[in-house]
């Protein structure tokens, strides 16, 4: 199985994403530069964290026009898996691959800390190796993470099970205090209607090694791998 990791000017979690794939789940990963027109036949695309194009205009707004993003959008429209982490989530929203937008944190502060998120759905290729309601500890590091969408969109996301992760307390409760950025309904990660594009602000690729505090990100990558293998067999 092959992963493409897109590098924009200003990406800074690209190496973590590569290591998550190569060392975390032992699969092949290649970098794709933002000016490339080719995803190198990758099965999964990762849009990594960072500050693509300096967050000019709005976080993710300029990245969506880069040549590689036209390939990523085509890949997603073919049903290919896309994992947008942090700035990758912002880019996926700006590109129209996911609904909603990420705004400046309500606190106006850049927040870099481990947070607790709860798994809200395991009926996806990204979360099938978790338990429903499981609380994970995963780091966040962002200034623009306040997920916002209109009321109809939020209802649809909730009603159709497209909210995959929510910020919670250590014992799994949704509270305002557990919400690090003011996101609507404590939403930390969503999937598109087709189920092949995941956007999340927390960094699962930074939670793969007990020495770094948590291995709770690993099942996300094994979920992708096992879903792909199951699909390849059937």
């Amino acid at each position: 199985m092959k992963f493409a990791i897109v590098r924009f000017p200003g990406s800074n979690c690209d190496e973590d994403a590569l290591l998550a794939v190569t060392e975390g789940i032992g699969q092949e990963a290649v970098y794709c530069w933002h000016k490339d027109h080719d995803l190198q036949d990758a099965d999964v695309v990762i849009l990594p964290g960072g500050f693509s194009y300096g967050d000019y205009l709005r976080a993710g707004a300029i990245a969506r026009f880069s040549p590689i993003m036209q390939e990523v959008i085509a890949h997603a429209n073919r049903g290919g898996a896309v994992l947008g982490i942090c700035n990758g989530f912002q880019i996926a929203c700006e590109a129209g691959l996911l609904p909603g937008a990420l705004l400046r944190n309500a606190s106006l502060r850049f927040v870099s800390e481990p947070v607790n998120i709860r798994v809200e759905s395991i009926a996806t290729q990204f979360t099938c190796n978790y338990h429903i309601g499981q609380t994970l500890q995963v780091p966040i590091a962002h200034g623009d993470g306040r997920f916002t969408a209109d009321a109809d969109t939020l209802e649809r996301l909730e009603g159709e099970g497209h909210v995959l992760f929510r910020y919670v307390t250590a014992n799994g409760h949704v509270t305002d205090r557990a919400n690090p950025n003011g996101s609507a309904r404590n939403i930390a990660g969503i999937v598109n209607a087709a189920g092949n594009v995941l956007g999340m602000m927390p960094h699962p690729e930074r939670a793969l090694d007990a020495k770094l505090g948590s291995t709770d990100g690993l099942p996300l990558f094994t979920s992708i791998l096992e879903s792909f293998m199951a699909g390849a067999k059937s």
Binding site: A101, L103, A149
Partner: protein
Amino acid sequence: MTRFRIALHIVPRRGILDPQGKAVSDALHSLGFPGVQDVRVGRFLTIDTTAESAEAARQSARVMCEKLLANPVTEDFEIASVEVS
């Protein structure tokens, strides 16, 4: 073709929390302007462009806002002026 200067305002939509606006509002109260009721912080852009007419320039500006300059989920835009430059 004529040269035009377009001026645009892009502001957070009403009803969406604007923490920057709130912080500025609080600072203005501290500065002695208790009458300040609401502040919204947005962006102001000037765009120099050529176009067939002022109306064509305005139409282009609208498309620019809808497709890139404003986020349709969270922001409203206003074309403040289109002037021959």
